[in-house]
């Protein structure tokens, strides 16, 4: 079976369009984030991870800043409890808080729903959302859908797109 990328329903192998939502399945590979080979620098020390229960209630920082060296963009977000990171797709109703489209996210292997950052009582956590090309925190490839503590000055790679994070 294959999974429709748009509605998540299971479809027969060989189906060309989703019988639930009409989504295009034949172009699935083209429309998906292209799969990039593993980067050589992606295995180093293990950052501390949190159990999902350990994340607790959300708390709000005063601001979080992303600096993206390849595009030279600097994004400051204030008064947020959670930031979805990925690429905008209006048709699928995906509007990430940190939209990496203009940073050539697609070329760098950023998925539409790539990762999220949530502010908890124990600090900021970063979670990869089972993205195609994964998320690397301080050169460590994260396990998907597990929360990792994020600190100011950390370096995150969404696919191949590098960003520095500063939390206040």
């Amino acid at each position: 079976m294959i999974k429709c990328q748009e509605c998540g329903s299971s479809q027969y192998d060989g189906a060309l369009f989703c019988n639930e939502c009409g989504g295009n399945l034949w172009g699935r590979r083209q429309r998906q984030t292209s799969i990039l080979p593993f980067a050589a620098e992606s295995v180093t020390a293990v950052p501390p991870s949190l159990s999902p229960e350990g994340a607790g209630e959300t708390a709000r920082p005063s601001s979080i800043t992303f600096v993206i060296p390849s595009s030279g963009r600097r994004v400051v977000l204030k008064d947020v409890r959670q930031i979805d990171i990925g690429r905008m797709d209006e048709r699928k109703d995906i509007e990430p808080g940190l939209d990496l489209t203009q940073d050539e996210g697609a070329r760098h292997g950023v998925s539409r729903r790539h990762a999220l950052i949530r502010f908890t009582a124990r600090g900021a956590i970063l979670m990869d959302l089972n993205s195609t090309n994964g998320t690397v925190l301080n050169r460590y490839r994260l396990m998907p859908e597990r929360p990792y503590l994020l600190r100011t000055g950390d370096e995150i790679q969404f696919g191949r797109l590098l960003a520095h994070v500063f939390i206040e």
Binding site: Y12, D13, G14, A15, L16, F17, G22, W26
Partner: protein, 413 residues
Amino acid sequence: MLIFDVQASRDTIGASDLVQLLYVLVRVSPSQQAGQKGLPLNLSLVVDRSTSMEGERLDTVKRAAALLLDHLGPKDVLSIVAFSDGADVVLPASHVHNKTPVLSRIRGLTADGGTEMYHGLAAGMREVLKATPEDHVNHLILFTDGRTYGDEEACLKLAKRAADHRIGLTGFGIGSEWNDQFLDDLVAPSGGQSAYIEDPAQILHYLQERLNGLGSAFAQNIRLSTDEFPPAVQLKYGLKLKPYAQPLSVSGEGPLNLGAVEGQGPLTYLLELTITPERESRRLHIPFLHRADIPRYQVHDHLFVQGLNLSVASNVPSITPSAELLEAVNVLNLTRMSEAAQTAVEQGDLAVATRRLKQLTSRLQEAGQAGLARQAQLELERVSVMGQLSEEGRKRLKYGTRALFANPYRLRL
């Protein structure tokens, strides 16, 4: 005589126990020698004259009958039957040399009584059989605006018998009250056409189009035998795309009747197959055996042999099917989404129905079909407020999406 082009959505099937889908698009074209003129016609016009036909509907059908008279040549045979509670043969099967008395009889038709279709169809078939079927294109053209009560089964058996006698059937439903599924089933055995005529003014256009097609039939009674498909392959759905869009009857016994190649053709149809390859097999051969009558060559039941050769492998390479095939499957999917919304409404599952209509609206918009998208949106609002679809809206969506097949391939994928 006939050229067959059989193309599949992929050339490799996964070596897996899981069911997989394969789409096959078949195009049947006449060889270059084909001219425009076919065999003489042997037509029976079967007209519903029940009470509900009173007024513009019956008046327009009368004009359609007059158009038929004008269209026919000296070698063509015509009969006209009117039915309500019973059937009257208005014009027995004959070459019409003097139109005036026939027109006068047609003008004299009045609307009265119920809709018992079987009587009309049976009388029409008797008239068609009076001419020698092998020398003509034999066809019943039915106009009705209602549902037949109690004799559906008899009508369907008669349609099957008509197909066995190589008599085609076209069913035109006028207004919104008629039973579209029944009409689809009625025309299926002969590979004929059913159409929705919302406005009586469209009758003449539809009839003219059908007459042009029938009059230029190059090959007819084209059938695909599915008995030779290997056990791993099951036919799930069939749809004729050209010269007109019509679902094919895949559940019945015997071959799939595809109708005729009209004029320069082509006749195009789409199949959806499920495949469960046998373990250890490396290849899968699916034979496509067609039979057809080609009157100009005095050929009957001629066998045409084609086939598809598929590889079975653990790694299935990604290929992009042809644009024509993708368009066809896309429209097939749209028609099914429309049907699925209707089914959800019938089952009282309004949440599912509204979700499906919303998705259909959005897909139709993407496909550049603004009118149909608006209709889907209207039905969505109606389901949200009233919990049901309108009969007109449902038919507009059904026949509107179906009509997308016959248009040039212009959807945006």
